[in-house]
Symmetry: C2
Subunit: 217 residues, 2 copies
Amino acid sequence: MEKPQSTKERILDAAEKLFATRGFYGVSIRQITTEAGVDPALASYHFGKKKDIFNAVMLRRAEVLNRERIAMLDDCIRRAKPNPAPLHEIIDAFTHALLNRATQGGQGWKHYFAIIAQINNHPELGGIIMTQYFDPLAKKFIAAIQETMPDSKPEDLYWCYHFLSGALTLTFSGTERINNLSEGLCPPSDLYAVHDRLVPFITAGFKVFAQPHKINP
Amino acid sequence: MEKPQSTKERILDAAEKLFATRGFYGVSIRQITTEAGVDPALASYHFGKKKDIFNAVMLRRAEVLNRERIAMLDDCIRRAKPNPAPLHEIIDAFTHALLNRATQGGQGWKHYFAIIAQINNHPELGGIIMTQYFDPLAKKFIAAIQETMPDSKPEDLYWCYHFLSGALTLTFSGTERINNLSEGLCPPSDLYAVHDRLVPFITAGFKVFAQPHKINP
DNA sequence: AACTTATTTCAACAAGTGTTTAATCATTCA
DNA sequence: TGAATGATTAAACACTTGTTGAAATAAGTT
């Protein structure tokens, strides 16, 4: 079943797992290499500094994930031509790959999402990495929405995207918070149920800012 | 202007500041006590273990914040009697104190929100602290919404609350992400503008789940 | 005043930190 | 086969980690 792993892969997997539960500063290189069953010096040999390991962990999955998301976004834009793509399809394109990996991607992906959630809310680490890996996708996404909602102000859309981003990262972070809070009523494992709620929730939020504001209900 | 600070307060302020930017594991007791201008041994003397310092930092502001939010929620429920409180007022009651402190609360509050954002997305620390300090408030809040939206399913409301929670923590985390992404178009310092967007955005999301579902636009 | 309690200091502890060095083993290629 | 490159190992580097103990000072109470 399991194909033989290279040392680099073993280190990345171990680092991913440990970073997910204890954060960047909460994990030592010796803990990582012990978990990987490998000599500590091999971490420096293969990756360099500790932050380079972290970057490699992030880059590995960000690449395949964002490739999928961009393809799906392009696809729904192309299908709708010459009209702009429908809003709920754009948001679905943005979230679908995330949901997919979080449900069927295995343990490694769960760890990856947990790290994303942490650094997305981390002033020091988040600023660099999120900007580097996710801003291009975010801009494409917002541009697509701007086209299907031409009357809305760009800054409104940026804010809405920001709210979406926060909701997403918390939902996939793997904290059992909603499960605890709801006393088992909302198992976060049921991510298809999440999809049925998240997409309409966010879509409705965006639509509020489609036309010139009417604040009060 | 500045009233003389006790050693305990100096340690708490220094810890708050450092935890905000580097996380729990990224900060040492010596860094904290150096920042506070105090002997390292005093941290143990006044607080005990390192995690007890962290807990004290969280508790100090969580208490005053949640007291305000509960009072405001009770107030808007009382004003609406015998009818249920309007949805947008409930959400405003939930977010108003946060916005207020984030704008006028000074640097300490900014650091506090940054820590909240980190632990809210942290499997290990978040589970304990957030549950301990914020779940009672969350339940009161959801119960109030359930009353003004009697036809909606409880699990839908829990999910909506979860999305709100994620949006809030990211917005107040103090990462400059939206500012960078929008290339200066959305300065996060303008938190009154945030309020005008966040409350209608969330309100609209909740309302989607008020009646039996109609998913497609 | 003397006595008690609270606070602060300094030094030390054993253990863990990221990283480097030089030596050894494995593999590849001519 | 032998030389050359790549991978792995063990040991050591100087430094930081959280926490504690005993001694010194400050504050508070009869």
